[in-house]
Amino acid sequence: MMTPTELYALAPFIWLSVGVIVLMLQIAFSRSLNGACWVTNLTLLVALYSMVGHDPAGIQVTPLMRIDALGLMFCAVIICGSVVTSLLARDYLKQRPAENEEFFLLLLLATLGACVLVCATHVASLLLGLELLGVALYGLIAYPEKGERSLEAAIKYLVLSGAASATLLFGFALLYAATGTMDFAILADKLDTIQVNSNPIIVLTAAAFILSGLAFKLSVAPFHMWTPDVYEGAPAPITGFLATVSKGAVFVVLLRWFIDGQLYEFRGIILGLSAVAIASMLVGNLLALRQDNIKRILAYSSIAQFGYLLVVLIACGTLTESIPLAREAASYYLLAYIITTLGATGLLTLLSSESARERDHIGDIVGLFWRRPLLSLGFTVAMLSLAGIPLTAGFIGKFYIFKIGADAELWALMSAVIVGSGLGIFYYLRLVFNMTKNPRQVHALPQQTSLEGRSVLLLLTLLILALGVYPQPLMDYLSAIL
């Protein structure tokens, strides 16, 4: 039997589910793009409001979910990400007349899945969250009715993400066979006795399966093949959603499983993760150099970014005292990455909202600085933040990575981070230079984008700068709650 406290802790999930049903009924009775958008945003805001006043110490609701500060914070981030996506998507969909209302339904379902995922402490809730997110995303990627690229992207994502889920589940089945528990917290005790008593070969195999499944979803190096194609083929707002909400949620659950289950005590896992991290920093940054499509550049850049983020997990293995710092560093870096990437893909969405075509080629932004000074300034800030230039949020995130890497004395990884960041500056700045080029023919100004879209983008830009110039409040907040 559930107590009222537990039910109250689940309020955001309940509100999101109610919103899904209301939206479905609304679509059944009367189709209206604006109506669907408002119901979606109202649901998201109510869910956000229902998170206020929860106990930050955390409460375990059934063995499946733990509603704690980490989970609540990322639930809030995910919901804000969905609000941004839905506001930007409305203009984008208006340019593509079709039956577009179900787009918002899928968006709400994916949000619910991501929120379940960040609070999951059990294999069952992890599976449900992951698949709710994944299956809704297949639909969102394939949404544009006439797009050949989006159809191809969707089937590629479906097949590879399905294979990743199967790999992940097989790993968890092996781990269950070895330890007899599917709960992340109990896992730690069981693993301790196994490590002492017998050889841990089955645990290592299981961890390899689980980590490669999660690595697929995060698209780090040997498992990154799908990323550029899916980013390119997906509609621009969904590229942003996939890059931020979906990947962020998967990383949070990885962090939970890895730290709660104390998997960092296994030397083999740390070595494997280090190899994967170095490979993805180098592969991501090197392959991004030769791309001409902005979405593909962002795809390779995200491969590199998650390589940097893996340093945090590896540091837990060498220096156990650094675990609280690791949570803080991962949270700050993820927040910075999510805000920045939403800003960058937001500009692409706004540009694509002005025509029926996706405007994601590097040629589409040539001379943008002279036509849309404010928007391109925002994009420039986002690029500088991804490159890790001081005074932006990305710099503080990278500073955390350096701090934690240096504390744990991971010099090989640190040099890969430096080389990767150096390469990164080149292609991020290439995009900025393309915007400042003076075009021969200045296009007649197309219709203006809507006020919501532009103000959301402006807000994201200000946030990137605020977190970069004055990061102390957020840093204090994170170290207090985590």
Binding site: V123, E148, V159, S165, A166, L169, F170, A177, R296
Partner: protein, 104 residues
């Protein structure tokens, strides 16, 4: 709970073989329908391993996860078949290599 009658290793080995069959099929087949079937084999291999492990520990948890996997696999494949219809209509083929337009 009756527990597991055969040794756990045997069932895990069988599940591993099924998983590898599925993975191989996924990689060498080019027809979308066969790829979806291979995906199903992989998911069911994981489900079989869960049932075996649950029986070994004498807990119902393994079977519950099996039911969840069953539902998840059905959802994946139903969306997948929807996409198959679209692919057939758009590209007039179910061969993924021929339908592929983008670089990677």
């Amino acid at each position: 709970m009756g527990g597991l009658v055969v040794p756990l290793e045997h069932v895990l080995l069988l599940a591993g073989l099924l998983f590898i069959c599925g993975l191989t099929g996924l990689m060498i087949r080019r027809n979308v329908i066969f790829i979806l079937m291979s995906l199903e084999v992989m998911l069911n291999a994981a489900a079989l391993a869960f049932v075996a492990a649950g029986a070994y520990w004498g807990e119902p948890d393994g079977q519950i996860i099996f039911l969840l996997i069953l539902a998840v696999a059905a959802a994946e494949v139903s969306v997948g078949l929807g996409l198959v219809l679209q692919i057939q209509r758009r590209f007039k083929t179910l061969d993924l290599d021929q339908a592929s337009r983008m670089g990677g």
